[in-house]
Each structure stands twice: as structure tokens, then as C-alpha cells.
């Protein structure tokens, strides 16, 4: 099974250019001529990046998909930690230890050895600290693409515009499933709040949109009306829990035009999809994350959701040595999500074992946030849907604003995803620990 079906089309909405086999072959030829090791690919939503990604997967060279806008200090730190053979999509001068050849940096010393099964490396939380990389095998990536394509009944007539970055696991899975089924992907870079995006949806007769919770909030703000785009048949949702009210609202909008809304659940560690909620069960299972995708299964162990399937990662990589490791998980993923299964196997997520929050779909460790802000005195961070809320003891409005800006810049996100407020004194539990429940409840 190969990733790129011969009939698959990738078209750039801005230029009309399409991905051609020759471009993939040229990238594969280039990779074949280079010394062994991983390729760290700065992956813009552009044809050359996709050609390189497909070529890497096809030639068995592990590829890490990275944010093309990541700052050079963070990239430098990754190169020091993982010693990849190649860095692609870089137009500037290479750091010490690498030489440049067009838009590729080539490592001068031997690269870190890589395990033969390793195909894909993805970051879990983008910007904070030293991100761990998720190690996915080639068979896991292909198995997950196949299961998703089956559970969504994708065929060659599907046309999806890019609504998410390709280095983000959900964006990557939209790419993979469409390449696998010989369908069409329309590369659009402006996003759902711009006229050009909706022009592309209409012109290319797009059939589906993939979106994360904050994008559904935007679509609602836009009073999105699927009737204006008759080719549109499917909305998919992943990347965190969408509030039930919006699930129902969008499901009803799609049903009214004979389309469907599909809620999904996953983690980058599962390459990334684990469950899907079929449109026809959405109403009676509202709030559910769905049923395991074909080939996968769930159990609940000590309240924790445990997933078993062929798409589970090999393990994490925190250093160059880890790239040579084989499978450490044996197809069993402890998700650290808390949940329950009903008698029909539908999964309901009830919480999270670790203190994690999300800001616009990106996972953020709340303890890291508190550690980062220790210079501001006593602080406490809690999750608030797709945002995080931070309490700073004794801060006035101006000081809270300073903390908000500083945190936004550290997380590389827009400050509207952060709610920072002063509080006279943090509430404490009898044991002296911060009373997070009370803070979560204060809106």
C-alpha cells in the first residue's frame, strides 16, 4: 500500500498548479543521494513541501513535520537534540554543522541513526519547552489513513481544502486520507475568515471541511450556511472537545442540506485518529467522542481511556538516541484521558489525568505555564475550554495585561486565547495545595 494513489490530486488554489509525479520523483531522487538519517521538514501549505513529504514516506526516510514559522533558536535546539541528516524548506543560511544546498540544509557529520520502521515524527505541543516527538511507523500511518478513509467513506470524488496546517496531526491526516483514496486536496493558505478561502471552496467544488473547536466558533460567528456551498457534504471535527450546543447546531445545519457532521477523537500519539461518531448516531449520543475506528478498540482501566490499534505510536523521542529505538508500546496507548464506555461501545471523555489545557487546539501543560510565570509571584493556571485562565495573586488590571502579553508571546498564540486576572489570594485546599476546582468554577 502506498500513500500516493496515482489519481490523487493536490492543487494550489492561488496558482492553479498541481502536484505532479515528476516532482515527487525528483524529491525522492534527491533524498536517495543523501546520507542516511531523518529529514526535518519545515512544512508550509505548498506543493514542494507535499512532494518532499510523499517522497520521504515512499523512500523510507523518517520525516519530522515542523512549523515553517518556528523561530530559528527553537529549530536550532531541535537540530542539536535530534541530529537529523537534512532540514528542508529553509531559505536562510545554515547553522554550524550544516551546509546549504538550495533550500535544504545537509548535516556535515553523520546523522543520528534511525529505526527502519520509523516514518513520521510529530510534535505534541508546539512551542513550549522542549517538545517531545511522537514516533510513528510507516504501517501505523498507513493503517490510520485507511481506517479514517473507511470510517468517513471517503472516495476519489472527495475534495478537501486545507483548513489546518499540514504539520499538525489533523491537517496531516486530511492530507494522508485524500492522497490514499485518489481524492483531491486544495491548498488554501488564507483560512476560513477570508474571502479567498470561500471562493476556493466554491470554485473547486469542495465536499468537506475539517475544523477544530475554535474554528467552529468562527464559523458560527460567520453564520456559516452550507446551502451557499452546494458541493459541501461533510464537516469533520477533532482537535478537542466541541461544546454540545455547537455540535447540535452544525449537525442540524448539515442535515438540512442532506449533509453530515462527524465528530472524531484522537491524539497525535495515535497517528492521530482513534474514534469517530457516525452522523446518524450523533443526536442520541450527543457529547460522545464516538466509537473506535476500524481495527481499533477501547478499554477503560482505572478510569483512563486505553486504546489498542495498529496506529499507536512506537513511542516518544526526546533525544537523538531515541530515533533508533523500535516499538515500545506494542499497540497499546494509555491516553491519559479519563472516560467511560457505554453498552454500545461509545466513548465519553470526562477529564484529563494530567493538568493540560488547550489554547486554540494546541495542547499546553498548565504546570509549565505556572513555572514560566513564577517571576510574577503566586500564579495558578486552569483550563477553560479552548482557552486557559491564569490567576495572578495581587495583580491589578495593568499587571494582568503584562502577564497576558508575555504568556501569549511565549506560547506563540494570540492573547485572546488567554484570560489573565488578578486575585486577592489563591484559594487553597486544607492540605495547602491550590484549589483548582474553585478556580475552574469561577467564570
Amino acid at each position: 500500500m502506498t500513500l500516493l494513489h496515482p489519481d490523487a490530486r493536490v492543487i494550489d488554489a492561488a496558482t492553479g498548479a498541481t502536484l505532479c509525479r515528476a516532482e515527487v520523483d525528483a524529491a525522492a531522487e534527491f533524498f536517495a543521494a543523501q546520507p542516511p538519517g531523518a529529514v526535518f521538514a519545515l512544512t508550509a501549505t505548498e506543493l514542494p513541501a507535499i512532494a518532499r513529504y510523499v517522497a520521504a514516506v515512499e523512500t523510507g526516510r523518517p520525516v519530522a513535520l515542523l512549523d515553517p514559522d518556528m523561530d530559528r533558536a527553537a529549530l536550532g535546539a531541535l537540530l542539536d537534540r535530534f541530529a537529523p541528516a537534512l532540514v528542508t524548506g529553509v531559505a536562510d543560511a545554515p547553522p554550524a554543522g550544516y551546509r546549504a544546498e538550495r533550500d535544504v540544509w545537509i548535516r556535515e557529520a553523520p546523522a543520528a541513526p534511525v529505526h527502519p520502521d520509523l516514518a513520521l515524527l510529530l510534535t505534541t505541543s508546539g512551542s513550549t519547552g522542549n517538545p517531545k516527538l511522537v514516533r510513528l511507523s510507516r504501517s501505523a500511518v498507513l493503517a490510520n489513513a485507511e481506517s479514517i478513509a473507511q470510517s468517513l467513506s471517503l472516495d476519489a470524488d472527495e475534495v478537501a481544502p486545507t483548513t489546518l496546517p499540514l504539520f499538525y496531526s489533523y491537517g496531516m491526516s486530511v492530507l494522508n486520507t485524500h492522497l490514499l483514496r485518489g481524492a483531491t486536496l486544495v491548498l488554501e493558505r488564507t483560512g476560513i475568515l477570508q474571502r479567498d478561502f470561500w471562493t476556493a471552496v466554491r470554485e473547486h467544488r469542495c465536499t468537506s471541511l475539517a475544523a477544530v473547536p475554535y474554528q467552529y466558533e468562527m464559523l458560527r460567528r460567520l453564520r456559516f450556511d452550507p446551502a451557499k456551498y452546494p458541493s459541501l457534504r461533510t464537516l469533520t471535527q477533532a482537535g478537542g472537545r466541541l461544546r454540545a450546543e455547537l455540535v447540535s447546531e452544525f449537525a442540524a445545519k448539515m442535515a438540512a442540506v442532506g449533509g453530515r457532521m462527524i465528530v472524531m477523537y484522537g491524539q497525535t500519539e495515535a497517528g492521530p485518529r482513534m474514534a469517530a461518531l457516525p452522523a446518524d448516531r450523533l443526536a442520541d449520543k450527543l457529547g460522545s467522542a464516538g466509537r473506535a475506528i476500524p481495527g481499533g478498540s477501547f478499554t477503560i482501566e482505572d478510569d483512563e481511556v486505553v486504546y489498542r490499534g495498529p496506529n499507536v505510536m512506537m513511542g516518544y523521542a526526546e533525544s537523538a538516541d531515541d530515533l533508533a529505538k523500535g516499538d515500545e508500546l506494542g499497540g497499546v496507548l494509555h491516553t491519559e484521558d479519563l472516560g467511560r464506555l457505554d453498552d454500545e461501545g461509545f466513548l465519553f471523555i470526562t477529564g484529563r489525568r494530567k493538568r493540560m489545557g488547550k489554547v486554540f487546539g494546541e495542547r499546553v501543560n498548565l504546570d509549565d505555564v505556572e513555572r514560566h510565570l513564577t517571576g510574577h509571584g503566586a500564579v495558578a493556571a486552569v483550563a477553560d475550554g479552548d482557552r486557559i485562565r491564569v490567576f495572578v495573586e495581587g495583580a491589578d488590571a495593568a499587571q494582568a495585561q503584562v502577564v497576558r502579553k508575555e504568556l501569549a508571546s511565549w506560547l506563540h498564540t494570540h492573547f485572546s486565547g488567554l484570560d489573565v486576572r488578578g486575585i486577592e489570594a489563591l484559594p487553597l485546599l486544607p492540605n495547602g495545595k491550590i484549589d483548582y476546582r474553585t478556580l475552574e468554577a469561577s467564570s
Binding site: L193, Q194, R195, L222
Partner: protein, 81 residues
């Protein structure tokens, strides 16, 4: 007539730009700060500042500062310098 400064400030606040940044020539696709998240924040800030509700088509057409000035004209907000 409304003060153009109020619109400039709404742009600077939402896009997290320093107070004296020139914004009159800003274009959505040329500015890394002006992404979809900042756009939502900008629309909300403009609605609050001028007490209006912006229609869907205008939200997705507002792709530059000058376009914002033109669109606000439709809502009865005219600017002087």
C-alpha cells in the same frame, strides 16, 4: 464623523502591535500577526468600538485597513483624520 485614530487603535490592540505602529497600509496576507485569531479579535474590537454588528460577507472581506474603512462606511461610520 469618527476619529480614524479609534480604528487604528482597534487594529493595534487586536494585532498586538506597539502603540505607534503605522497601520494604514496593513494587508491581511502580508502581516504575520494578522491571522484568523487576530481577525476574530479585530472584528469584535471594531464592533465594540463603533457599536455595530458586522455582516458575514464584510467579516471575510475585511482584508486590509483601507477595506475596513470602506466597509465601516456602509455602517454609517465615516472618518476624518
Amino acid at each position: 464623523m469618527a476619529d480614524l485614530q479609534r480604528l487604528r487603535d482597534a487594529f493595534r490592540t487586536s494585532l498586538d502591535l506597539p502603540a505607534d505602529t503605522p497601520v494604514d497600509e496593513l494587508q491581511y496576507q502580508d502581516n504575520a500577526q494578522w491571522d484568523s485569531l487576530a481577525h476574530m479579535s479585530l472584528i469584535a474590537a471594531i464592533e465594540d468600538e463603533f457599536s455595530i454588528m458586522i455582516d458575514t460577507d464584510d467579516v471575510i472581506n475585511m482584508s486590509s485597513f483601507q477595506e475596513a474603512v470602506r466597509i465601516l462606511g456602509k455602517y454609517g461610520v465615516a472618518f476624518n483624520e
